[in-house]
């Protein structure tokens, strides 16, 4: 009981953390500090509740009578929600600390208070979404979250690009909400109440419709391809700590929604899991392919979020298949991988966004091809960024690997060993996962190489330097968590297992145990060994050849007379070969210069990768609608005679419509 109340109190604290600042003068930093203080305090309070309920026992259902015709105020915390709640109580708090200097009140007097208000509201509403056990309450919290995120992301609405991105987001999220409204109405129609308790029996068709509605509605938020259209723009437009929260936590609300609904639905045909597996694979590969094509630091990170959502979805799909076929091991590995990756991505993606924010803060540019050589100027940020990049590529010994490893194990097990039947179609997805892994390496090597390594490509980076401690500390915390979870994954497993058991309504769900199937001990051991080995080697080379005494020279320029910094391999050229590989999907548009004559004038080459779904399909559709619909305006041309004629006409039409029904 107390756990739930702690969390509810935390939700209140978070939601209203921005309010005091609104009552204070525009330039006083006190309001922002209070907000951060409230965020941190509330998060700690909430974490205490989470820690209590991760243990497995569901906290009792708290119901408060609610004066609405439909729906009640019913909240409950079970391990599944607790796992996500942890993320909600970690990332936003760190983000608000980061915001103290990143979005300092004195520098943004016009927007800071509004940002603080909606930032807190966003965090609180996300927590509310996770504990809600009633459809209407869920919807309310959900929409508050969406709207708060909109306002937090569009604080800089002077900028047309921000407005556009925000508008696309708003339309997308509203479309998703419409699906969810339909879903909950159908849910009530099928189960007789809005209560989110597991439903007993249900016609397969209804369950299927509910499932599809859930995947669509929540998919909009999670960013499943092709419902991801809003994601890159919004993440690029938002302030970096807001992007961190959106990408690290808010996308996961979509994942949570799908998990919750699949947990509640009684039947689960195999095609559900198959659909999710396919969607996950497509989302993953396409997401990372688009990421490679980006020239904008934050857009790239946003697309890689889409990829990670794809990986999570694969895990969920595997678990669903396991549930349909009654295979606890697949459920354990799939769900374990999904949940673990939810956390992992919730740690390293905010880390990367905060790092990107630090760069943006000091260089005021997000264009990869204007950056470069930041490693020499911002060494601390670079260390964290590299950690984040290695983690997000799923490479050992960091946390990203563990999740993908579990997923691989699960997918390989669907081959079916020895006697037990398999589901090899699922196993083939492992190859997609492998491809994603390799492409992620390509993507983030490009990112690191273009931003931090080499030499500066423009004077934008000249005054760049490491950010103040208040911005470093959150990154430190996140990076530390990444390393810790990478080296000691078994620490997180019990919580994941509990959550998986709550999700899987299997008869033998008690037998679900990840540790039994996956030797995580080896992972830690080898991870530590690897770290030690690298450390020893590095130490040797450091002792044998101290940096200061070793000779220095310019990079070998292959005999070119005057190599300039512009001659470096740019981000676009690094990505080009892969972009060409996926040209069919990415549809890169490039503008080739024509060069003739002995001494040609300076020519420019430029290649852009736009979003195929958004710029190729959605926007044209809207544009044509915008052209077509106004044609109907000829119907309203101010001739009052015509208007009277309409009245006569509709009388006749209505008489006709009435007669159609074959009245006695």
């Amino acid at each position: 009981m107390s756990a739930t109340w702690n969390i509810l109190a935390a939700i209140v604290l978070l939601s209203f953390s921005g309010v005091p600042a609104c009552l204070m003068p525009r330039r006083s930093a006190a309001g922002q500090r209070i907000a951060t203080l409230l965020m941190v305090a509330g998060s700690l309070l909430g974490l205490s509740g989470v820690a209590a309920s991760l243990g497995g026992a569901n906290s009792p259902l708290v119901q408060v009578p609610w004066g609405l015709p439909c729906g009640r105020f019913a909240v409950m915390v079970d391990p599944l929600s607790a796992l996500f709640l942890g993320l909600v109580f970690v990332v936003p708090a760190l983000g608000s600390v980061y915001g103290l200097d990143y979005w300092r009140q004195s520098q943004h007097p016009a927007t800071s208070r509004r940002l603080g208000l909606f930032y807190g509201l966003l965090a609180g509403s996300m927590a509310m979404v996770l504990v809600a056990r009633d459809g209407v309450l869920f919807l309310v919290a959900w929409e508050v979250m969406a709207i708060a995120a909109y306002f937090a992301a569009t604080v800089e609405d002077d900028d047309p690009a921000v407005r556009r991105a925000g508008w696309i987001y708003l339309v997308a999220t509203h479309a998703g909400t419409m699906c969810l409204i339909a879903m909950f109405a159908l849910w009530r129609h099928a189960t007789g109440s809005f209560g989110l308790e597991p439903a007993q029996a249900m016609p397969v068709a209804v369950a299927g419709t509910l499932f599809v509605l859930a995947v669509t509605g929540f998919g909009f938020k999670a960013g499943l391809m092709p419902l991801h259209v809003w994601l890159p723009g919004a993440h690029a437009a938002a302030p970096s700590h807001v992007s961190a929260v959106m990408s690290g936590v808010m996308l996961k609300m979509g994942v949570y929604g799908i998990m919750r609904m699949t947990a509640l639905l009684p039947v689960a045909p195999v095609w559900w899991g198959g659909l999710l597996l396919t969607a996950g694979a497509v989302t993953g590969v396409a997401g990372i392919a688009f990421a490679i094509g980006q020239q904008d630091l934050k857009r790239l990170l946003a697309y890689s979020s889409i990829e990670n959502i794809g990986i999570i979805t694969m895990g969920l799909g595997l678990a669903l298949i396991g549930r349909s076929l009654g295979r606890p091991d697949w459920v354990a590995l799939g769900m374990g991988a999904a949940l673990l990756h939810v956390w992992n991505h919730g740690l390293f993606k905010p880390l990367l966004f905060l790092g990107a924010g630090a760069i943006l803060h000091s260089t005021h540019t997000r264009e990869l091809d204007r950056l470069g050589g930041m490693g020499a100027r911002m060494p601390v940020v670079m260390v964290f960024f590299v950690i984040g990049a290695v983690a997000i590529c799923g490479l050992p010994p960091l946390n990203g690997f563990v999740g993908e490893w579990l997923l691989y194990l699960g997918l390989f097990r669907t081959l079916g060993q020895g006697a037990e039947a398999g589901f090899p179609a699922a196993a083939a997805v492992a190859v997609a996962l492998a491809m994603i892994g390799a492409m992620a390496v390509a993507c983030f090597v490009k990112l690191i190489g273009t931003v931090f390594l080499g030499t500066a490509r423009s004077d934008a980076v000249d005054r760049a330097q490491d950010p103040p401690p208040s911005m470093v500390a959150p990154m430190l915390a996140l990076a530390g968590a990444c390393v810790f979870l990478g080296l000691f994954p078994s620490f997180a497993i019990p919580a994941v297992e509990n959550a998986t058991r709550t999700w899987a309504a299997l008869a033998n769900s008690a037998s679900i145990s990840i540790a039994a199937i996956a030797p995580l001990g080896w992972i830690s051991a080898l991870g530590l060994a690897l770290v030690a080995l690298v450390g020893i080697f590095a130490l040797i080379s450091r002792i044998a050849f101290p940096t200061d005494t070793t000779a220095r020279a310019v990079t070998w320029d292959c005999g070119y007379a005057r190599p300039s910094k512009r001659m470096q391999y740019s981000g676009s050229s690094l990505g080009k070969s892969l972009v060409d590989l996926f040209a069919a999907l990415l549809r890169p548009t490039s503008h080739q210069p024509v060069i003739h004559g002995l001494f040609p004038n300076s020519a420019t080459f430029k290649s852009v990768v736009t979003d195929t779904v958004l710029d190729g399909m959605v926007l044209p559709l809207f544009r044509s609608a915008g052209r077509f619909l106004p044609r109907f305006r000829v119907l309203q041309q101010a001739q009052v005679q015509t208007y009277v004629l309409y009245v006569v006409a509709i009388v006749i039409v209505l008489l006709g419509v009435g007669a159609m029904g074959g009245q006695p």
């Binding site: 609610w66 004066g67 609405l68 015709p69 439909c70 209407v136 919807l139 309310v140 959900w142 929409e143 508050v144 709207i147 569009t154 609405d157 002077d158 047309p160 407005r163 925000g166 508008w167 708003l170 339309v171 509203h174 479309a175 909400t177 419409m178 409204i181 339909a182 109405a185 159908l186 009530r188 129609h189 609608a625 915008g626 619909l629 106004p630 109907f632 305006r633 119907l635 309203q636 101010a638 009052v640 015509t642 208007y643 009277v644 309409y646 009245v647 006409a649 509709i650 009388v651 209505l654 008489l655 419509v657 009435g658 159609m660 029904g661 009245q663 006695p664």
Partner: protein, 478 residues
């Protein structure tokens, strides 16, 4: 009670016509409104035992709801009007105040009347007293708007009268002596002659639908709402429409009692969805944000019609929507009026960055937009969601799907305009008028927004009880 509610405003209107001071006169509005609200609440608290001697002056639950909504909205608007008229010292507000007060009186009469002929008279009267309000600005455009309002409205309402006569004839045809009081019609409903009843329903639907502004009889609406002052727009969209819908409710009730649900619901769903579609189509790329509000009103009349057409389980949501829609429309029209006054323009070509120039009005306009498009946690969400659930309960999945789709279309069409108005940097080339957000022009909107928010999070038990009564009454259950 009835006397106070109906005649007191009319007397005050007469008083307003004789008061000479242009400065004092507006204060008659809040004074009257306060008395009216107090009486209304007294009546509502007094419960069902309210009846006048006359058989055709009864205040039934649906009437209570509309009365409550109109009275509250009028109270807010009256204070706003005082603040508004301060900026319109340039011309006399004698007619304005008198008509506004008279309007309150006749609308109260609508809510009380149980005689369809009387109800028709009252609604026609409401048309006539609102015409000078639309004409308040004395511009060519406002003349045109008034002309169309009067002509289209009168033609429509004339059809309503014909429909009323048909209804009476239906009872005459049933061998009874012809009657138009609701009670006797309900009593003899099953015996009414079907063809005449159906014809009457169509004519009444068209007639009162014209007053509600259902497509395609909505043509006067964008003109009138666009040209009238914001406060008048609020009263039209929150008062006239509700009273006309109340009239439609009476007819629906008679047909329901006659067991003609299939017929009525077919027509209501058709015209309701058609109105939502038309609203969506005309909102796309709408550059005049007051006309846009008019189309939003068309859409919500469509929603009410759909809710009524679904009937049964959706009635609760429909009655609730009367309240939520009326209040939210108040927020939108009043804040839009402020923005219009400040920029001296209501076209998105000139109006940008309202949240910078008018933080209060701009924010309220945005909030009102979110509310009216059915976003939680605002009132309209609850009512529209209840209607949707009703549709599912009735197994009308196609209707529900179209309903949601049109809501989305409207959201997109409306959002583009609203965000364009409130966001961005205010244009510097447009010089500000002398308008500033003041207490009188700000507070009423805030209060009304608070009410909308409250209805989205918590519906007071007495109110939900009242709504329940209304539903039972409409379904002719004792």
């Amino acid at each position: 009670m009835a006397f106070v509610l109906i005649c007191f405003p009319l007397l005050m209107a007469a008083l307003a016509a004789v008061v000479s001071s242009n400065r004092v006169r507006p204060w008659l509005l809040p004074a009257t409104a306060l008395v009216h609200v107090a009486t209304t609440i007294a009546v509502l608290v007094q419960g069902t035992g309210v009846s006048t001697g006359v058989a055709w002056l009864v205040l039934d639950p649906p009437g209570r709801i509309v009365l409550l909504q109109v009275s509250v909205l009028f109270l807010l608007c009256s204070f706003y009007a005082v603040g508004y008229l301060r900026y319109r010292r340039d011309q006399t507000n004698r007619v304005f105040c008198a008509c506004l007060l008279a309007f309150l009186g006749v609308i109260s009469l609508v809510t009380w009347s149980h005689h369809l002929g009387l109800m028709w008279v009252a609604i026609e009267a409401s048309t006539l007293v609102t015409a000078p309000l639309i004409y308040f600005n004395r511009t060519q455009r406002s003349i045109e708007a008034t002309w169309k309002y009067l002509l289209v409205g009168s033609v429509g309402i004339a059809l309503a009268l014909l429909g009323t006569f048909f209804l009476a004839y239906a009872s005459l045809h049933a061998g009874l002596d012809s009657t138009l009081t609701l009670e006797s019609l309900l009593e003899h409903a099953p015996r009414l002659s079907k063809p005449w009843l159906h014809a009457a329903f169509v004519l009444l639907l068209v007639g009162y639908g014209t007053k509600m502004g259902l497509a395609p009889m909505h043509t006067w609406k964008p003109d009138a709402y666009g040209e009238a002052p914001g406060v008048v727009g609020a009263m039209l969209a929150g008062g006239v429409t509700s009273s006309a819908f109340l009239a439609l409710l009476r007819v629906y009730q008679v047909c329901h009692a006659a067991g003609d649900d299939a017929y009525t619901s077919r027509l209501l769903l058709f015209i309701g969805l058609f109105s939502m579609a038309v609203a969506g189509v005309f909102m796309v790329g709408q550059r005049d944000f007051k006309r846009m509000l008019a189309y939003s009103s068309v859409e919500h009349m469509g929603i009410l019609a759909v809710g009524l057409g679904i009937g049964g389980p959706a009635l609760f949501g429909t009655m609730l929507h009367v309240l939520t829609n009326g209040l939210t429309k108040g927020v939108l029209f009043l804040s839009a009026g402020n923005i219009h006054r400040d920029y001296g323009s209501k076209s998105t070509d000139h109006v940008r960055g309202a949240m910078q120039r008018l933080p209060l009005s701009g924010t309220l306009f945005l909030a009102g937009f979110l509310a009216i498009t059915g976003s939680p946690p605002f009132g309209p969400f609850i009512s529209e969601f209840a209607i949707l659930n009703g549709a599912f309960d009735e197994g009308r999945f196609v209707t529900a799907g179209l309903f949601l789709f049109f809501l989305l279309v409207v959201f997109i069409g409306m959002g583009a305009t609203v965000l364009h108005v409130v966001q961005g940097r205010a244009p510097t080339d447009i010089h500000r008028t002398d308008y500033r957000d003041g207490f009188l022009t700000g507070a009423p909107i805030v209060v009304s927004m608070m009410l909308v928010l409250m209805l989205g999070l918590y519906i007071p038990p007495p109110l939900s009880a009242l709504l329940g009564d209304a539903v039972r009454f409409l379904e002719n259950q004792p």
